[in-house]
């Protein structure tokens, strides 16, 4: 068992003295690799705490560029990085905080063709995206790669968090939502708005669940967290079903999806939308 550089004992000391964490926990983080898909409202806070905690290798997948309208919530970017790729801007912010991090900034779009190869190198995948087709693509990919998918979503005053494909029998996204919701009821952040700090809360929860998974502090009970900033209580936690044997993606029955690269996720979700803000 290797040890940490002396400096790291100082940097990570506050978490290393926690019950159930210790040096083994810190070494697990250091050896772990995490892919964060989307460096926007959810990805920025998640990346921030994953990087601060000392995750060994972080992949940031985002092909969009920073815009001024992102800065009211996407807190790793700043006025000087407007116009830069979000993956590069976020990398710069993470390195400023922690120069020892290994960050893969991936500025190509995630597609059905490249998802398996782009995500294969990572232990945990975070879904910090903002559109239904990519969410189904990520779920199918996580199932194929047998990796947990820490999925966050936020819109208006509301957020949701779920770890899909958790342990041996946790459900995948398709188990819960075999059909995408009608486009009429959803909308994008651009159309419906978003309170920035809601993405912060959900993105932080994604970082927390990821750290729990890597350090062995997770209870592996599938659940869905629902957050509503203006309700009381604001948080509700729901116990979820196990994997659905009839699920087209993760089930054992015959109605399998076929190969991911052959699926048209945009059509499955009702065709292209006028404007996606990724």
């Amino acid at each position: 068992m290797s040890t940490l550089p002396l400096e790291d004992y100082k940097r990570y000391g506050r978490q290393m003295i926690l019950d159930g964490f210790g040096l083994p926990g810190q070494l697990k983080l250091q050896r772990a690799s995490v892919a964060v898909v989307g460096a926007g409202g959810l990805g920025c806070p998640a990346l921030q705490y994953l990087g601060a905690a000392g995750i060994g290798r972080i992949g940031i997948i985002d092909h969009d560029r920073v815009e001024l309208s992102n800065l009211s919530r996407q807190i790793l970017h700043n006025e000087e990085t407007v116009g830069m790729y979000k993956a590069d801007s976020a990398t710069q912010a993470l390195k400023r905080l922690n120069s020892h991090l290994t960050v893969d900034a991936i500025t190509t779009a995630l597609t059905a063709e490249n998802a398996l190869s782009l995500l294969a190198p990572y232990d945990v995948i975070l879904d910090c995206t903002d559109n239904a087709p990519t969410r189904y693509l990520l779920s199918d990919t996580a199932v194929a790669l047998k990796k947990p998918l820490v999925s966050g979503a936020a819109q208006k005053y509301e957020g949701q968090l779920c770890v899909y494909n958790l342990g041996p029998d946790g459900p995948c996204y398709r188990c819960l939502f075999p059909k995408p919701p009608a486009q009429d009821t959803v909308g994008t952040c651009e159309e419906t708005g978003i309170l920035g700090v809601v993405t912060g809360i959900i993105g932080d929860m994604q970082a927390l669940e990821t750290i729990r998974l890597i350090t062995g502090l997770h209870d592996y009970k599938p659940s869905l967290l629902m957050f509503s900033a203006l309700s009381s209580p604001q948080f509700k936690n729901f116990k979820l079903r196990t994997r659905n044997v009839k699920c087209a993606a993760c089930g054992t029955a015959e109605q399998r999806l076929g190969e991911i690269k052959d699926i048209d996720y945009v059509q499955f979700c009702g065709g292209p939308r006028p404007d996606w803000e990724r």
């Binding site: 979503a153 509301e158 009608a182 909308g187």
Partner: protein, 123 residues
């Protein structure tokens, strides 16, 4: 007639179909028609004598029909499909996924809380 008091709640945008109100308290009969008809059967006429109505304890399937008939304000097809909720909607009974509780056949009891949520996509 004995009734059951329930709390229902919406999330993920589904409230838009229900007058944009996130939660409702409501009462439904404890015993309901098996065919989930939520309005009284028309009185018998000489031509159409009253048929005996088959009944069951109120379950979630009945609740869904009740909501469609009495609470839904628009776009029925975004909420109900083939006598159950649309596949993109998750139902949770007392904080537990309805799949673990028998789905539509779960028999409601006084004080139950049923949550209907649609998945969010934003980020």
């Amino acid at each position: 007639m004995s009734t059951i008091s329930l709390k229902i709640e919406f999330g993920g945008g589904l409230e838009l179909l229900f007058a944009n109100q996130r939660s409702y308290s409501l009462s439904i009969p404890a015993i309901v028609p098996t065919n989930n008809r939520t309005t009284p059967t028309p009185p018998p006429t000489p031509d159409q004598p009253q048929e005996p109505v088959e009944t069951k304890p109120a379950d979630v399937t009945y609740l869904i029909h009740h909501m469609r008939d009495h609470l839904l304000k628009e776009r029925e097809e975004l909420f109900i499909e083939d006598d159950t909720v649309r596949p993109g909607i998750l139902v949770l009974i007392n904080d537990v996924d309805w799949e673990l509780e028998g789905e539509g056949e779960y028999v409601l009891k006084d004080g139950d809380e049923v949550v209907f949520i649609s998945t969010l996509h934003g980020g």
